[in-house]
């Protein structure tokens, strides 16, 4: 049983939610020496450990620059590529639900992750943890500008709330370009979660708030949820439209993907993500059953290159083995 595991709805279309708060301690410059990072990590860690309920849940790890462990933590979304490159500290709850990076651009980057659509719940937890730290370690705060950050793009709430959406049909029908405009008009940014530039492999997108100042963190999060919900509805409509136009073709694609996952012996990341994407559609539309979407989202993380060691072909083989194991329980409706 983990203390911080948050779960939201729409699991078939919203893979995960996360909230990040950027905070800096009062009395330090933004750019710190490694010794100061270590000092701040110690202070934050003991502030958390001082709380009898949640304190024991946390552990502190040093991030060795460019280490294999650092790369894996990046793939698990627990640290940023910058922290993996430059080193620093990670204070993380045992279940990975709450993590605090020390040594990024800002002194502290507090992150809360949940599954499904649950940014509000993530924000509540993030606020609780931030308040707990702030009770003993005051943050750099300005009456007018709010929480001060190294980059002016984060000033104010320091909030970055984000939802990973699975929108393959909107991608296929070209509706995604309109969505970018729609999201922009609502103060949100949407972009592909994997792949170069705007191309989104497997139809996975990240939608997040764009501004951090002038509205409260709760308001910004509400707006994000509203926007994401509207986009989810559009994707559902697009799926039904595709079904009504050519159900046989849809079923063929979904079942072929399931077949590939069940029997492939070598598979690269791109094809694997595409197949997982198609199978997720099949599960959500009732064409397949037997595997929970959350299991596939989790799998999609575990098959990324840094999570599998070895030469490329060896990785393709390990990836295929992982996918075969899960896909065995898929049933065709």
């Amino acid at each position: 049983m983990s203390l911080f595991s948050l779960h939201g709805g729409f699991t078939g279309l919203a893979a995960s939610s996360r909230v990040r708060l950027a905070r800096n301690l009062k009395g330090y410059p933004f750019r710190l020496t490694p010794a100061q990072h270590s000092e701040i990590a110690d202070k934050v860690f003991s502030a958390l450990r001082g709380n009898p309920t949640i304190g024991p849940e946390f552990e502190k790890k040093q991030i060795i620059p460019r280490s294999t462990e650092a790369s894996q933590l990046v793939e698990e979304h627990l640290i940023s590529p910058e922290l993996a490159r430059n080193g620093g500290w990670l204070i993380v709850s045992r279940d990975g639900g709450v993590s605090i990076m020390v040594g990024e651009e800002d002194h502290l980057r507090l992150q809360v992750i949940g599954t499904g659509l649950c940014p509000k719940e993530c924000l509540e937890t993030a606020n609780r943890i931030a308040a707990l730290i702030e009770a003993t370690l005051p943050f750099a705060y300005d009456e007018r500008l709010g929480y001060l950050t190294a980059c002016p793009t984060n000033v104010g709430t320091g909030l970055r709330a984000s939802i990973m959406l699975h929108l393959p049909m909107l991608t296929a029908t070209g509706g995604i370009n309109q969505l970018a405009g729609y999201a922009g008009s609502r103060g949100c940014a949407i972009r592909g979660a994997y792949g170069e530039g705007s191309q989104a492999v497997g139809g996975f997108y990240q939608i997040s708030n764009q501004i951090t100042l002038g509205a409260s963190a709760a308001e910004l999060t509400d707006k994000l949820v509203e926007t994401a919900t509207a986009i989810i509805d559009a994707e559902k409509k697009a799926r039904e439209q595709v079904r009504s136009q050519n159900e046989a073709a849809l079923r063929d694609r979904v079942c072929r993907a399931a077949g590939t996952l069940r029997s492939a012996y070598l598979i690269d990341t791109g094809e694997a993500i595409q197949c997982i994407s198609d199978v997720l559609v099949g599960l959500q539309m009732g064409l397949l059953s037997g595997v929970e979407p959350q299991v596939l989202y989790g799998l999609e993380q575990r098959i990324r290159p840094a999570m599998l060691t070895g030469a490329p072909q060896e990785r393709d083989q390990k990836r295929a083995a992982l996918l075969r194991e899960t896909a065995q329980s898929l049933r065709f409706a």
Binding site: R31, R66, D142, E196, G197, P305, E314
Partner: protein, 181 residues
């Protein structure tokens, strides 16, 4: 585990490659990994991810630190740089040209030092210039001055001729006064 190359530092990287059927495996420290030019492997590992951590402003507004920053601030070299009389943040020493180049401020006080540069940028970026919402819990409680309390203890210690305790308290008071300065 020690690095297989230098044998001195702790190995933090595992490297494996197969070329023409010959497999090479190494456990290396970051230094040797860089010498072996394996750093590229690390850099490339995340290239295919438009990562959660990368800033949407920076990635959306084009290269570098975003065209908005460049349009508004990045291009002009302040005359003062050329004259050697450049403005500096008194707290952290960040100069105006460093700020313009990096788009990052050096410390909380830079926001007031460079308010004339940053305020219009912040307003344009967020469409607002006033924070709403969460603030530090309560204004700091006006606490009884801890130094004052120690002084009273010191006086009592001197009166009771406990000089050992008095010396300890005196040092403690000096230390705290030093911190306050």
């Amino acid at each position: 585990m020690k690095c297989e190359k230098c044998g001195k530092n702790e190995a933090t990287m595992y490297y494996k490659e197969t070329i023409n059927g010959v497999t090479r495996e190494m456990h290396l420290c970051p230094e040797c990994a860089q010498k072996e030019n394996l750093g590229g492997t690390f850099e490339n590992a995340f290239q295919s991810m438009n990562h959660f951590w990368s800033d949407p402003f920076h990635s959306f507004l084009g290269g570098g630190f975003g065209s908005l920053w460049n349009d508004m601030l990045g291009t002009a070299a302040p005359t003062s740089t050329l004259l050697g009389t450049e403005r500096k943040c008194p707290t952290c020493g960040m100069t105006e040209s460093e700020l313009r180049q990096t788009g990052r401020v050096g410390c909380p006080d830079c926001y007031s030092t460079f308010a004339d540069i940053l305020n219009p940028y912040v307003r344009k970026l967020h469409g607002a210039d006033r924070h709403i919402g969460t603030a530090p819990a309560a204004p700091e409680q006006p606490q009884a001055d801890p130094v004052e309390a120690l002084r009273a203890q010191l006086k009592a210690a001197v009166e009771s001729e406990d000089y050992e305790q008095a010396a300890r308290l005196r040092d403690e008071i000096r230390r705290m006064e030093g911190e306050q300065k």
